[in-house]
């Protein structure tokens, strides 16, 4: 049968070209994503990085945290340990501190020049910094040498002169100061490179305050102890979810294409049955065709995949989805496995697509070859009913389960992805059922029309529901995915901001110079803070974001948390998170507020005492004052800022002393501006800052949408065009009969285009139903977390998608019908195929 299958394929190239194209592009897409995904696995930079040039005879002394674990900057070594080590032998102190430069964007890390060699930095031009105002820059162009630059550190802003340029390292953007200047800017020693103690010698000051690291253990105090793997987490998540979506859409579209192709040649298959083929032989033939197409298309797709990663790679770097050092290796050994996998998925999709039609193929009776016209068969198969109903039930069940147990998942489009996908899938599968009532409703106004066009449009759709369903299905997928996923994402983002707005009341925000201070950059220095505090009539709430570890009083680690340090006075006034247990009123000076997530996973409750390990290496006893509602975006915890004296705040919230959130008057604002003068920090209103964060979130949403949804959309549109071309070619005889009945070619083309337009409208209605259901389900979860959680529908994007679908559909219908009616009518009417 494979020979007959091959002959049929050769003959019906146009019919199968669509399936081939869909599968080739699908495999290319999956290949592109699996190659990218594979590149994000493993450790890109194995071994110690920051201290890779530390000799065999040397060791690095680092501060000790819980359970004997070393800590890195900003944790500092106890001064007496440093003094003792420096007195006994060679000891090179290393300091790491946040720096911002006017001449170079981004967060930089300052070091003393003396420790540069341990990371293997080499001077490329100029000389090492010798005077206090001299600096060397890693990875900077030589032209910068001799230039003045404003340098902001936690100490404030000062002028420096660039005197040298070194090569660069992937894990940091380094700025080197003279050792003395580095010590002035960042007094604490973060790590000390010393001589390794002789084996027989008892380990030096082992009082639990320091750790001595050698060899591969030095990785533990690297800026990224995972050797770059962590920096690829974003890229990996993006590639992972896109691979999944791409595979789903590809399989779905291929199944639809094959099912339709089989339906189109039902008569030919019946003829084979008539000539003596058994149902089994037909099944083997159909599978054989799919195998041939699958192997050819998947192979072609695998050839297209490697070059396709180039633009994707550029895009990922441009949009900070991956770090600048990220590469997608295209050498043979590293591409074999991902491409083999993509090839297998492609072939499997083809076989699955044709397997889905096998039941129908088996039921083809030879007598169908003799019937004048193909009878319209039921548009809904039992499998379709079952799957559609199961997906709908699954979506509702998942939604209820999430709302009952972990409603915070609904705020993240990525974690909540299953719900919109299930709704869209269910509506897509159930489309033929809804086709009839929706079409009736939509074409009601056309009913009274005396013209032939509207009559034909209406009746063609209603009598050929299966054909219409084949067009509608991919459009429901396209519009449904875009609308539902973006609505989930934007509503989730809006809920995050709403929660933030309800949690922190402020009128204005002071942000440090050069950025928001949210990352590792320097914060607002102490002097500026003191000046702000001196402005009369305003309340100043400095907030410091930091990572802490909590442990038992015995010194065992319980958890690591990201937290915000706030003054005790701010709790319950400026900072009002939703309290679950305990109280925010008059908290102790060493309070810690944790969220439900931490309370549940760590077995902690309000009133418990824990030891908090600050990033500086200090261990302080704390009391859990309250447990608050689950954070929407990671941990939501607060720590008393009385405990974090040495750390500078990343932002300062301001409001009038008369009440939380009350705006400052003009005089106060002027006083604040004066206090900030020259510090580099600047004042923005809280609303403006929230708007900026919203815009940033929207920007990220857009980035994700472009890649993930763009791919799905492009694919669905190919499927629409494909189906329409096949359908129109199959209607050649019908069109010819219309011509003989007196229709001019233009009328037929218009009828076909109008039919496709109705299909787009029907699909949009179905997609809207899926989106509405998903949004309501999500709202059930978000409403439990945020009072009055907003529901944000990205109308513009949805409208764009619908217009795009309508355009592609109408244009394809137009062109395909035009082509199908080109032959002389009498000729075409005489043929049976």
């Amino acid at each position: 049968m494979l020979k007959i299958a091959a002959a049929t394929l050769r003959h019906r190239l146009t019919g199968f070209a669509g399936a081939f194209l869909a599968l080739t592009l699908g495999t290319a897409m999956i290949g592109m994503m699996t190659l990218t995904l594979a590149a994000t696995f493993g450790t890109p930079h194995p071994g110690p990085q920051r201290f890779k040039e530390v000799k065999e005879t040397q060791a690095v002394l680092a501060p000790q945290g819980f359970d004997g674990q070393p800590m890195k900057a900003p944790a500092v070594l106890p001064p007496d340990v440093v003094a003792q080590a420096s007195a006994t032998g060679h000891a090179t102190p290393d300091r790491s501190f946040p720096v911002r430069l006017t001449s170079r964007p981004g967060d930089l890390t300052g070091h003393p020049w003396t420790s540069a060699a341990y990371a293997g930095y080499r001077l490329l031009a100029g000389h090492a910094p010798q005077a206090t105002d001299e600096i060397a820059l890693a990875g900077a162009p030589e032209e910068l040498i001799g230039h003045q630059s404003d340098v902001t550190t936690n100490d404030g802003t000062a002028h420096y002169r660039v005197v040298g340029v070194t090569d660069t390292r992937w894990f940091e953007n380094a700025v080197f100061f003279t050792p003395a200047e580095a010590q002035r800017l960042s007094p604490g020693v973060n790590a000390l490179v010393t001589d390794r103690p002789a084996p027989h010698q008892p380990p030096a000051p082992a009082d639990g305050r320091t750790v001595l690291l050698t060899g591969d253990d030095l990785t533990r105090i690297d800026p990224d102890p995972t050797g770059g793997a962590q920096a690829l987490a974003n890229a990996q998540a993006m590639a992972g979810s896109t691979t999944g979506l791409a595979a789903c859409v590809a399989v779905f579209v291929v199944i639809a294409t094959f099912a339709f192709a089989t339906e189109q040649r039902r008569r030919e298959l019946a003829l084979l049955r008539l000539v003596g083929a058994s149902p089994r032989q037909l099944r083997r033939m159909v599978l054989g065709e799919a195998l041939l197409i699958g192997v050819a298309a998947a192979a072609a797709g695998c050839l297209l995949a490697p070059p396709a990663t180039l633009p994707l790679h550029t895009w990922m770097l441009d949009h900070q989805v991956a770090p600048p050092w990220f590469t997608i290796p295209l050498t043979l050994p590293s591409t074999v496995l991902p491409l083999l996998l993509s090839f297998a998925i492609g072939v499997t999709a083809a076989l699955a697509g044709s397997a889905a039609t096998l039941v129908r193929v088996s039921l083809i009776r030879p007598i169908e070859a003799l019937r004048e016209s193909a009878l319209e068969r039921r548009p809904m198969t039992p499998v379709r009913w079952l799957l559609g109903a199961a997906m709908l039930a699954g979506a509702v069940a998942t939604g209820i389960f999430v709302a009952r147990t972990e409603p915070h998942l609904a705020a993240s489009a990525r974690k909540y992805q299953a719900v919109p996908l299930l709704y869209v899938g269910a509506l897509t599968l159930l489309a033929p059922v809804l086709l009839r009532p929706v079409t009736h409703l939509l074409t009601r106004p056309l009913r009274r029309s005396a013209k032939a066009g509207p009559l034909l449009v209406r009746e063609n759709i209603l009598t050929s529901r299966r054909r219409t369903a084949a067009t509608v299905t991919p459009i429901v997928v396209a519009v449904g995915l875009v609308a539902a996923l973006l609505t989930m994402q934007e509503s989730g983002d809006a809920a995050l901001l709403a929660r933030q707005q309800q949690e922190i009341h402020a009128a204005d925000v002071v942000v440090p110079g050069g950025g928001q201070g949210a990352g590792g950059g320097p914060g607002i220095d102490g002097l500026t803070l003191a000046r702000l505090a001196a402005v009369p009539g305003i309340r100043v709430t400095p907030v410091t974001s930091l990572n802490i570890r909590i442990g038992t009083t015995a010194g065992d680690q319980i958890d690591s948390l990201s937290t915000k340090a706030v003054p005790a006075a701010a709790l319950g006034t400026v900072v009002t998170p939703p309290v679950v247990s305990g109280s925010l009123a008059s908290p102790p000076g060493n309070f810690l507020v944790i969220d439900e997530h931490a309370a549940q996973s760590d077995g902690l409750a309000a009133g418990d005492r824990v030891v908090t390990l600050l990033p500086t290496g200090e261990k302080v006893p704390t009391v859990i004052a309250a447990v608050i509602a689950h954070g929407l975006n990671g941990d939501d915890t607060y720590l008393s800022s009385a405990l974090t004296g040495a750390l500078t705040p990343g932002r300062v919230y301001l409001d009038s002393a008369t009440g939380a959130g009350t705006p400052l008057d003009a005089q106060q604002t002027a006083a604040v501006q004066r206090a900030l003068a020259g510090s580099g920090a600047h004042l923005v209103t809280y609303d403006a800052q929230l708007a900026a964060e919203r815009a940033k979130a929207a920007q990220q949403t857009d980035n994700a949408a472009v890649v993930i949804l763009g791919i799905a959309l492009a694919y669905a549109l190919i499927a629409v065009a494909n189906t329409l071309i096949m359908a129109m070619a199959g209607r050649r005889r019908e069109f010819a009969l219309l011509t003989l009945a007196g229709a001019v070619r233009g009328q037929i083309v218009k009828v076909a285009a109008a039919e496709s337009a109705v299909a787009v409208v029907v699909a949009t209605v179905l997609a809207a139903v899926a989106t509405a259901l998903a949004a309501l389900t999500q709202h059930a979860s978000l409403g439990r977390l945020v009072a009055g959680a907003p529901m944000v529908v990205p109308w513009t994007r949805i409208a764009e998608t619908v217009v795009l679908c309508a355009f592609v559909t109408a244009a394809t219908a137009w062109a395909a019908t035009d082509r199908a009616t080109r032959r002389r009518a009498v000729e075409a009417a005489g043929t049976r195929e």
Partner: protein
Amino acid sequence: MVSLTGVHKAYGRHDRRVTALDGVDLSFRAGTFTAVMGPSGSGKSTLLQCAAGLDRVDAGQVLLDGTPLHQLSERALTELRREQMGFVFQSFNLIPALTARQNVELPLRLSGRAIDAAAIDRGLAEVGLAERGGHRPAELSGGQQQRVAIARALVTRPKVVFADEPTGALDSRTAREVLALLRDVVEQHGQTVIMVTHDPVAASYAQRAVFLADGRVVGDLAEPTAEAVALRLTALEPAGQESRAAANGAATNGAQPC
């Protein structure tokens, strides 16, 4: 060879029910050429399809060489059709993707039999297409396509060949060639041919003509001539329906032009 006893067949459900065959008793002896005739809607195509096991009967039984078709499974029917029956239709029903030769070979391939190249050559030569084996259906004329279909129907040496309006889409000269071919099948190879037609000229090539109206057998004519058949058909046309009982032998004026 083929016999139908008390065959009933209806299409549609409930209110839209249409009776196609209403108690047909007929038998076709081996080695004969029979034309089944009747106006459109008389059930003649349904009769052919039921006789070939392509359609299931509602009541009654169909025997092929003693085998009751209505009791066979779909698979057994397929195999029986493949081995013992050949089909020729108005629309030639060739597989467009395959060449004439491949179309002829198709039934052998499907039944997994060895393909005897010389036998295929002979088969094509018998229908006068020895030179055209490599052409695809689209490159052949209507008459040539129908001859390929006949060669395909005969390639398994079936006991019965069913032909449904085999000349319906052909001009009269080509039609005569095709009919002569069918007659040869009976006379030279001793096979049975059952042909449905509404064309009295086509019927005149058969050894026997059976007349159907409203799903019942209403006449049987041995060694029919075109004129005799035409006369009887005219009587069966819907306008003369009330005189159907008298149609058996009754003559009305005018022959149906065909």
